[in-house]
Symmetry: C2
Subunit: 212 residues, 2 copies
């Protein structure tokens, strides 16, 4: 069965709330309550989960631990993922030092940069290598995921090289609409785009007020 991409995007949210509930010691939760916590309709949660099986008990709801384990397994969060970072400038450095990846099983194991002043530096216990060694290093010690934090002009080229080196998923911090072959996953992290779509609605408000 082909599962709608939007469903896959919501599962990590569900998992996150279930983790919080588990920590609170809750054993059971209804789609109603999950929905309330997430701002999603209960029907949507039930439908989403139904793509993967029957996890609930009628009249009761879902066992928090059971559902959490199921989601973690479905999403592949029950294992470690290795990542290679390309671009260790200001942004890249912040990414290496970000404490949010490791507890979720995502580990940066290589860091590359093109700037000779940065190559050789140690960042958070990781030695920055020259980006020219990318293919060689990834052949020896492969990773599943690439993180791109290089300037826009070279981002597409870096992404192409990562893909050719066998990386099947890319987290792209560069402000470009990168193209990847079918079968390769890519996600954009782009706060400026987020801001620019919000201002549309802010503008509307100003206009409505001006029209009064």
């Amino acid at each position: 069965m082909e599962i709608p991409p939007v469903v896959i995007e919501r599962l990590p949210l569900y998992a996150r709330v279930l983790e919080a509930l588990a920590q609170e010691g809750r054993e059971v939760v209804s789609s109603q309550e999950l929905g309330q916590r997430l701002g999603v309709t209960p029907a949507q949660i039930r439908k989403d989960l139904s793509y993967f099986g029957r996890f609930g008990k009628q009249g009761r709801g879902y066992n928090v631990q059971t559902l959490l384990s199921a989601l973690r397994q479905i999403l592949g969060l029950d294992r470690q993922w290795r990542m290679a970072l390309v671009g260790v400038g200001r942004l890249g450095r912040a990414i290496v030092q970000y404490e949010g990846f490791a507890p979720q099983g995502f580990r940066i194991v290589h860091a590359f940069d093109a700037d000779p002043r940065i190559v050789g530096q140690e960042v958070n216990g990781l030695t920055v290598r020259d980006v020219s060694e990318l293919e060689e290093v990834l052949a020896r010690e492969p990773v599943e995921i690439g993180i791109v934090a290089v300037p826009a002009v070279v981002a597409q080229e870096v992404i192409d090289r990562l893909v050719r080196a066998g990386v099947r998923a890319i987290l792209n911090y560069a402000p470009i609409a990168a193209r990847v072959p079918r079968g390769v996953q890519i996600r954009r992290v782009d706060p400026v785009l987020a801001l620019q779509s919000m201002t549309y609605y802010l503008r509307q408000v100003s206009n409505a007020q001006a029209a009064k």
Copy 2:
């Protein structure tokens, strides 16, 4: 006319590519070429733009400058937006120092933190204030947008305070599904969620190979 939210989310992308084309000195561009650069169908671009007017010339395409100006005006990018950052830890510091906001007209004018060791520090020419002064400062010097980079446990509370202080748009870096009242815009910047939805597809590949 009510414009589909997905359309609004794509407009900043169009604007970005048009900026690049303008810099290359291109005068005219077709929906076909725009689509190619963005990985979007030409029909979608034409349909999206048609919500706002008729910007193209049949047989020719779109004038790059004219369309760019129109989009900037529609999105409200033809003005400055003031932002307040809450949370000046490692992540917050990286946000203040990020050079990508200013050239797009987004300026951080206040920074708040709760940690007395951080309050009073100067970061990128900005003095960090105590978060208890948030309401007071925003009443005196309002901002349109709030940026939240605080720990998950306090994020919802901070967002509520920002909204009560008149902020109509929030960029949320905290890993929670925050709730805001109708009419307030919110966008999540959450690399971990992005990673966790990609691993679903990576897992599929491993499984397919294992099944051989």
